[in-house]
């Protein structure tokens, strides 16, 4: 097991290098000059050629493309992710650290909502297959899967905050601010998982072990929960684990709709300001999250499934 984890971590290094390089290439294809944009954002009244050249030297943009990339990679190894182009007094690491907690909070609450709603609803849909509950839920799932998150966000804001005046429209600070954005993020995941759990359970119901459990005269409740649900959840573990980094990365749109001061908002403003190091580091961070969560949940599945576990 230890060797497996180490091998997976070593394999992640070339993967992360490739991700960061591709990202670097794409950002540098953008035609505008980051030095010029930085000066404009700093509200320089007259932007001269000299000022731009000076800024380029200061940000290291005068060096060739490859040199800049390796400078950045070497810096990363020392924990130095570069400086903010727009506001050179701030470091990229500091910026990300400032915004990360808000995004993590949003993603964590969304994940809890997903778990709390999708597991019982998926379970009930499977148990009462083709009943009224299942039919209604299927209709809701069908509709909610088709609605993009930013639109759902705006609808909720209009309906609940503006018309009913129950919750704040945007910003952060109290738990009331969390409800709408986290529910918006959770909604599409809830539909996916309800379907996944329902179908997994229905598939499991036709397995021999369920017939045999009935043959032994086990109570229905125990067969459903102890056997079918547990076996179904098993195949969901990896999918659920992978949705955590997806949520952290996927809050971008929702954060902007609700002006949530997290990574997504930072990322969007960095893209507008051509703040290359911030975008670079954000992409790297998300890459690392994907690799780590993938590994953690692969290991978790191995530990929880006796068939995959190697008895030492």
């Amino acid at each position: 097991m230890k060797r497996y984890v180490i091998r997976r971590l070593l394999l992640a290094i070339p993967l992360l290098l490739a991700i960061s390089f591709v990202c670097f290439v794409f950002i540098n294809i953008i035609p505008s000059n980051p030095a010029e944009v930085a000066l404009r954002v700093q509200q320089m009244p007259v932007i001269t050629e000299e000022a731009i050249a000076e800024m380029e030297v200061m940000l290291g943009l005068n060096k060739p493309f490859i040199v800049r990339y390796f400078d950045w990679v070497l810096g990363c190894l020392h924990g130095d992710f570069g400086i903010n182009y727009v506001n050179p007094a701030r470091t990229v690491a500091g910026e990300l650290a400032r915004c990360l907690p808000a995004t993590l909070q949003l993603a964590a609450v969304s994940f809890v909502i997903v778990l709390v709603l999708s597991v019982p609803i998926g379970f009930l849909c499977a148990v009462y297959k083709d009943g009224w509950f299942d039919k209604i839920m299927r209709a809701i799932i069908f509709i909610s899967t088709a609605m993009p998150a930013y639109w759902v966000g705006l609808l909720l804001m209009w309906g609940i905050s503006v018309k009913l005046d129950l919750l704040p429209t945007n910003g952060s600070g109290t738990w009331q601010h969390l409800i709408l954005p986290s529910f918006t993020v959770a909604l599409s995941y809830i539909s996916t998982y309800i379907r996944l759990i329902r179908n997994n359970m229905l598939e499991n119901m036709n397995q021999d072990y369920v017939l045999y459990a009935n043959v032994r005269g086990l109570p229905q409740k125990s067969i459903m929960v102890k056997h079918i649900l547990k076996n179904s959840m098993h195949t969901c573990i990896v999918a659920m684990g992978m949705s955590i980094p997806q949520m952290i990365a996927g809050t971008i749109v929702v954060e902007n709709v609700f002006s949530w001061p997290g990574l997504g908002t930072l990322c969007i403003s960095s893209i507008f300001n051509r703040d290359l190091p911030v975008i670079q580091t954000y992409v790297l961070l998300i890459g690392v999250l994907f690799v780590v969560f993938n590994l953690v949940f692969d290991v978790l599945q191995t530990v929880s499934d006796p068939r995959l576990r190697k008895e030492d």
Partner: protein, 276 residues
């Protein structure tokens, strides 16, 4: 004497997409205590279906009519809870494919004890002692270790024996063996059949042995019922089935089997000659 299980004109219809497909068309047979009834027929002939229908193991899309009496009591129309108590208690059932019948996520010991708990309120100690006794009775070595194993760590023959052990541990009045020898090799098959014969002799249990294998059925069954396309086409003892079968389907079954056996004997004799 009241038969342990008596099916009378049992019909099973599958309703699917507004069509009704008749799967079992009026099957009648009965089995008495201390007797083994062999139910013979190819796959899809309705052998397992009739037993599942009687025991309430079919889902709602199947419509069951006719009569199925267990020790004189009508089973059709009984509540799900009453049937559940019967299954695993007074009626022990052994299935084919022992490798896939146990839940892969639980240890053998846990699966035995949950079966005990579904029918009795025994203490943890008593459950453990009875589990060990069950495995010992089935001649399984190192029963303590086996209790801690997961199903995938045991062989098909062992799991089949554990299954028979579970089915017989509650001293059932009726033991149904649904093709218990299909998924295991010849030597284990032989042992499993011996085990079943011993149980029938020792506990005076009524037994229904479902199979498409003439060979296996001939070893254990006292009486044979032949099913084809959901109907009883022939019944009698083994000798009757072998020599005086009136039904063309039964005759075909016996002839095919005899052909296979003849070929098998020829190959065996040929081999012996080569060795000599």
């Amino acid at each position: 004497m009241i038969p342990v299980l008596e099916l009378h004109d049992l019909c099973v219809t599958l309703r699917q997409h507004r069509r009704a497909i008749e799967l079992v068309k009026g099957v009648s047979f009965s089995v008495h205590a201390g007797e083994c009834l062999g139910v013979l027929g190819e796959s899809g002939s309705g052998k397992s279906m009739s037993i599942k229908a009687a025991m309430g193991l079919l889902n709602k899309s199947f419509l069951v009519s006719g009569s199925a009496r267990f020790q004189g009591e009508e089973l059709l129309g009984k509540s799900a809870e009453e049937l559940r108590r019967l299954r695993g208690g007074k009626v022990g059932i052994v299935l084919q494919n022992p490798m896939t019948c146990f839940d892969p996520l639980y240890r053998i010991g846990q699966q035995i004890s949950e079966t005990f708990l579904a029918h009795n309120s025994w203490s943890a100690d008593e459950i453990r002692n009875r589990s060990l006794a069950l495995l010992e009775k089935m001649q399984i070595r190192n029963p303590e270790e086996v209790l801690e194993k997961y199903p995938h760590q045991l062989s098909g023959g062992m799991l089949q024996r554990i299954m028979i052990g579970i089915a017989t541990s509650m001293e059932p009045a009726l033991l149904v063996a649904d093709e218990p020898t299909t998924a295991i090799d010849a030597i284990t098959q032989f042992e499993i059949l011996d085990e079943l014969i011993r149980i029938k002799r020792d506990a005076n249990t009524a037994m229904i042995f479902i199979s498409h294998d003439l060979d296996a059925i001939s070893r254990v069954a006292d009486r044979i019922v032949v099913l084809n396309q959901g109907q009883v086409v022939d019944q009698g003892d083994f000798d009757h089935i072998l020599h005086h079968a009136s039904d063309p389907y039964t005759k075909l079954l016996v002839e095919k089997r005899a052909d296979v056996m003849r070929r098998y004997c020829q190959v065996l004799q040929g081999k012996e000659r080569n060795y000599a």
